[in-house]
């Protein structure tokens, strides 16, 4: 078995026992990136020298007897929206092309303290808006299982790099399914924690009340290992929950006695791909065979999830993205060209009244900067959100959405009185071909159908591999649990993983 096909948990053991150096491990992954990322395009930024230097430092500290932390020497890829002091942090947007944050995100600090080797920054949909990675201003990540298909998104690079063995662990963010959906489409495991479990400080915001950082890995145990480092209260984030973080890896392999699994009937009423429906129903049977009780439950308001989400998320985004105006950081339109344009427009004016209506330099700078710096999907969502928050529309859209959100939360709370975890599909179908959603933004929105509920309700959800389509594409199983029940969620997922071999399958990468 090659080094990079081992699990992160095994690699940590080898590092700790001295059988493997961090430099060797980093080297192996960097080589894999070198060989395959030209085709997969998972990474926006890899600094080979920096990664090897970090690894060498860890090796040296370990040799001198220092505690190098629970991830000591393990490479970790991070999504390009987590601030790293002095490192490029672009959110896959032209707007932040040359932006380097002056500080580390809390999770980046925690990763460094845990001894992680930050190996590279992964591609995503611009500002995390999208589900295909095709909204990146820089490159399109492909699906390692079939490079003519999308890897999913927005954490597409984060999922693809793990699937292609270019990193053992990867950090993504999930606002409406952005960890779970690409994990499902790329055949890896991805977890969205409870809202507030992981600090958002230094996560460049898309929709603040929905965004949550989480781990992507090849197995449930690797996912648990990374979550232990990411999770924890942070006084710098007011929405961070002040509660102790359980040791997720500790009791992971212990099956849950008397587990009740809720089968969400509403999910099967939708247009589900037959392969996906079969795989998910089969997963329910696996749980049954493990002694779990299967109970049908309904989330009656889940049908309003997409509508609710696509009012709340763009509303918050329209506000969060107001700061990209060219005044303080990031992209600014070419000022010389702007003044020339203004002068030309003025010269062409014949009457004074019309001239007075021309945008002056400040407004013009804002307008041109934002028109040029943002991609089409980001602009679409800013417009949606601006509209929904406008005077006269607020009550009908934003306020109404908040009320429906409350009903969706109540559905979940009622369901979790009856069952321990909810079971369903992550996506309606396996990975679509690249370009499939090019002229169909609404179609892409609808792919979030099964995942947005967890974000709206703030509950944890995990995607684990549970099958393969007739075309050989991975299918993901979606498990959701009550707030702060990550431990139960991971143990339930482990039970399934232990009884199946879906997570061990790897795509065959071309060797061009």
């Amino acid at each position: 078995m090659s080094l990079i096909s081992k699990s992160a948990v095994e690699q940590v053991q080898l590092l700790q026992s001295g059988q493997l150096s961090s430099v060797e491990l980093a080297q192996a992954y960097l080589d894999q990136i070198e060989t395959h990322d030209a085709e997969i395009q998972a990474f926006l930024h890899v600094d080979r020298d920096s990664a090897l230097q970090q690894a060498a430092d860890i090796d040296q500290r370990r040799q001198s007897g220092e505690d190098v932390g629970p991830l000591g020497g393990l490479p970790v890829a991070i999504k390009d929206l987590l601030c790293s002091r002095g490192e490029p942090t672009t959110c896959a947007s032209k707007m932040l092309e040359n932006y380097r944050p002056p500080y580390d995100a809390t999770v980046v600090r925690r990763l460094k303290e845990a001894g992680a080797v930050l190996i590279g920054r992964t591609n995503m949909d611009e500002f995390a808006m999208g589900g295909s990675c095709e909204n990146s201003a820089y490159q399109t990540t492909t699906n390692p299982w079939d490079t003519t298909r999308i890897p999913g998104g927005s954490s597409g690079g984060a999922a693809a790099c793990v699937a292609a063995s270019m990193a053992p662990l990867s950090v993504g963010s999930d606002t409406g399914g952005s960890i779970r959906q690409p994990a499902a489409l790329c055949g890896v495991t991805g977890l969205k924690p409870t809202y507030g479990r992981v600090s958002r400080y230094g996560l460049i915001a898309f929709a603040s009340s929905l965004d949550q950082i989480g781990p992507i890995a090849r197995s449930v145990e690797d996912t648990a290992l990374l979550l232990e480092t990411l999770a924890g209260h942070d006084p710098l984030d007011s929405t961070s929950i002040n509660t102790a973080t359980p040791h997720y890896t500790e009791n992971l392999s212990q099956p849950l006695d008397g587990l009740t699994v809720g089968l969400v009937t509403d999910y099967f009423e939708k247009e589900l791909d037959p392969d996906v429906a079969a795989a998910v129903r089969e997963a329910a049977r696996v749980y049954e065979s493990l002694g779990a009780k299967i109970q049908e439950v309904s989330l009656p308001h889940s049908q309003y999830g997409i509508a609710t989400y696509y009012v709340i998320a763009p509303s918050e985004a329209s506000s969060n993205l107001a700061r990209y105006d060219g005044a303080h950081f990031g992209y600014r339109t070419d000022e010389k060209a702007m003044y020339e344009e203004l002068a030309a427009e003025r010269a062409a004016m014949t009457d004074e009244e019309a001239e007075a209506k021309l945008d002056g330099p400040l407004i013009r700078m804002y307008r041109k900067t934002r028109s040029e710096g943002f991609g089409a999907e980001v602009k679409r969502r800013i417009m949606l959100g601006t509209y929904a928050l406008s005077s006269g529309y607020y009550d009908a859209y934003y306020l109404k959405a908040l009320k429906v959100r409350r009903l969706i939360v109540n559905d979940y709370l009622a369901a979790f009185k009856q069952v321990d975890v909810l079971l369903g599909p992550v996506t309606a179908s396996p990975a679509a071909p690249l370009g499939h959603y090019k002229n169909d933004p609404l179609g892409l929105y609808l792919t979030d159908l099964f995942t947005v509920g967890a974000n709206l309700a703030g509950i944890p959800g995990i995607s684990v591999p549970c099958g393969e389509s007739s075309a050989g594409l991975p299918i993901g199983l979606h498990l959701q649990a009550a707030p702060l029940e990550e431990e139960r969620l991971l143990r339930a997922a482990y039970m399934f993983q232990n009884a199946t071999d879906w997570q061990t399958r790897r795509p065959e990468l071309s060797t061009t």
């Binding site: 929206l81 942090t89 400080y201 929405t239 107001a322």
Partner: protein, 494 residues
């Protein structure tokens, strides 16, 4: 004012910077005057990914003000984003409070010691907490029309206090502002420095004109105008007076009523002493308020409210009444003393208690101590003569050992040298003249001034004044009233 054919209606919005060490949502210093952009961090500069965390101390300070303004403190309030684009607002929104302010429904009592208006309560609609924006510094040197941005002020806690439109003259508005500023100073929550921008005032003003044609006595209201850019309370007073005249003229010309035209914003031009229409904002003010998802709502407990209430101390109005009742001084005098701030009041109380004469103490504090403080531009804490020393001096004045003018000389010397009453008197060569010496002196005067003696004997007691002058020439330390007393006594017996 009352002779005007209309009633002025004024509401005031006051922004007060709270005197916290650090900003409202980060730990940067709020100190005024640091070099531009040196008191900033990722949070207050709106750096991507940074998040706000409430400074609870700022919340408690604002609660202090709200309680002093007799406001209700809701148990649950939240933060909202007020969104607009401007270069000194780096996030593109200001964190403020929209529909659930931290306090509401209070009042501030105002009165005028000269009784130019009847004592009244001005309602407070709400007081809410928000973060301040940065400063745009427009560099208008020839050729370089640059704007520079200083974000030091960005995130400084600001309390916006909105009054009901219940002030009916510039004088009332001025009294409201004076009393509010005094209250804030007593509470120690702000330095209220208008020059440095720690207190800012906007006024909403219109006229109510009796409607002769109306059957229900409802007056005609003219369009409301918001007046900005007033840099002192005097400027507020003048701008309001100007606005009343201007609006009356406009009404006579156009007959425009409220609702006929959009609300106008006018700026006060201090040098020209006029208000001028400001260019209306690019967009009409749709701030797209919505709850800030980065912050959690604030939940306030009764215990917390009571803890803040217990630290409030005595308010100016209560203090005035106490001084009047305890020390027998007039409302005018208590007003002067209390308006100088708590430090001076404490000085006065110590002096009055120690010398046992509140009125005398009040006179000396107002006429002598205050004059000196004003001349030297110093605080009472820096005044060299402490209350007990001054009290000793007042004892001598009261007991007749020193007359008022000599007392002043002694006080002057005490201020100069920092010494005690006795030391100052010695230095000035003021020795108390004993009675036998005084008798001898008076006998000499009677003998050498037969004409004056005759005048006194004929009942013209005023004539004795001339003897006092002569006595002082011979010995400057004599007590004039004693000289007068003794000379009249000798003259009438001889």
């Amino acid at each position: 004012m009352t002779s005007q054919p209309y009633k002025m209606v004024i509401g005031l919005e006051v922004h007060v910077q709270l005197a916290t060490e650090s900003k409202l949502f980060c730990r940067c210093s709020t100190k005024f005057g640091a070099p531009p952009n040196t008191q900033t961090c990722p949070v207050c500069t709106g750096t991507p990914g940074a998040l706000p965390v409430l400074n609870r101390h700022a919340y408690q300070l604002s609660m202090k003000v709200a309680l002093a303004l007799n406001c209700e403190i809701p148990k649950f309030t939240k933060w909202d984003r007020k969104q607009y684009y401007y270069p000194d607002l780096p996030k593109g929104y200001q964190i403020s409070q929209f529909d659930l302010p931290m306090s509401q429904n209070g009042y501030l009592a105002i009165s005028d010691p000269k009784d130019q208006f009847a004592a009244k309560r001005v309602g407070i609609i709400r007081a809410h907490l928000e973060e301040d924006a940065g400063k745009s510094i427009h560099d208008e040197q020839a050729g370089t029309a640059d704007t520079r941005i200083d974000l030091n002020r960005c995130g400084t806690p600001l309390l916006e206090i909105v009054s009901e439109p219940e002030m009916y003259s510039p004088l009332e508005a001025k009294a409201y502002l004076d009393e509010l500023k005094l209250l804030l100073t007593y509470l120690g929550v702000s330095d209220c420095n208008m020059q440095e921008g720690s207190l800012r005032v906007d006024a909403n003003v219109n006229l109510h004109i009796p409607d002769d044609d109306s059957t229900d006595d409802e007056p005609i209201a003219t369009p409301i105008v918001e007046v900005k850019n007033m840099n002192s309370f005097r400027a507020v007073e003048r701008a309001l007076a100007y606005e009343a005249d201007r609006q009356w003229e406009v009404w006579q010309e156009t007959g425009q009523r409220i609702g006929d035209v959009p609300k106008q914003t006018r700026g006060w031009d201090e040098s020209a002493q006029v208000t001028r229409a400001q260019r209306s904002k690019e967009e009409s003010s749709d701030y797209r308020y919505f709850p800030d998802p980065d912050l959690v709502p604030v939940v306030v407990t009764d215990t917390e409210i009571e803890a803040v209430r217990s630290e409030l101390g005595e308010f100016p109005a209560a203090l005035r009444s106490r001084l009047e009742e305890t020390y027998g001084i007039k409302p005018y005098d208590s007003d002067v003393l209390v308006n100088q701030g708590r430090e001076l009041v404490d000085y006065y109380i110590e002096l009055a208690e120690s010398c046992g004469d509140g009125k005398l103490a009040s006179n000396w504090v107002q006429q002598d101590v205050l004059r000196h403080l004003n001349e030297q531009e110093i605080a009472v804490s820096e005044f060299a003569v402490r209350p007990l020393a001054l009290s000793e001096l007042l004892g001598k004045v009261k007991g007749g050992q020193l007359d008022t003018s000599r007392g002043r000389e002694v006080l002057g010397e005490m201020i100069e040298s920092g010494g005690s009453v006795t030391e100052a008197m010695t230095k000035l060569g003021i020795a108390e003249v004993d009675d036998s010496e005084l008798m001898d002196l008076c006998h000499q005067l009677i003998e050498s001034n037969p004409k004056i003696v005759a005048d006194i004997q004929s009942g013209n007691l005023k004539a004795a004044g001339a003897l006092i002058g002569q006595a002082k020439q011979k010995n400057p330390n004599v007590n004039p009233s004693r000289v007068r007393e003794i000379c009249i006594d000798i003259a009438s017996k001889s």
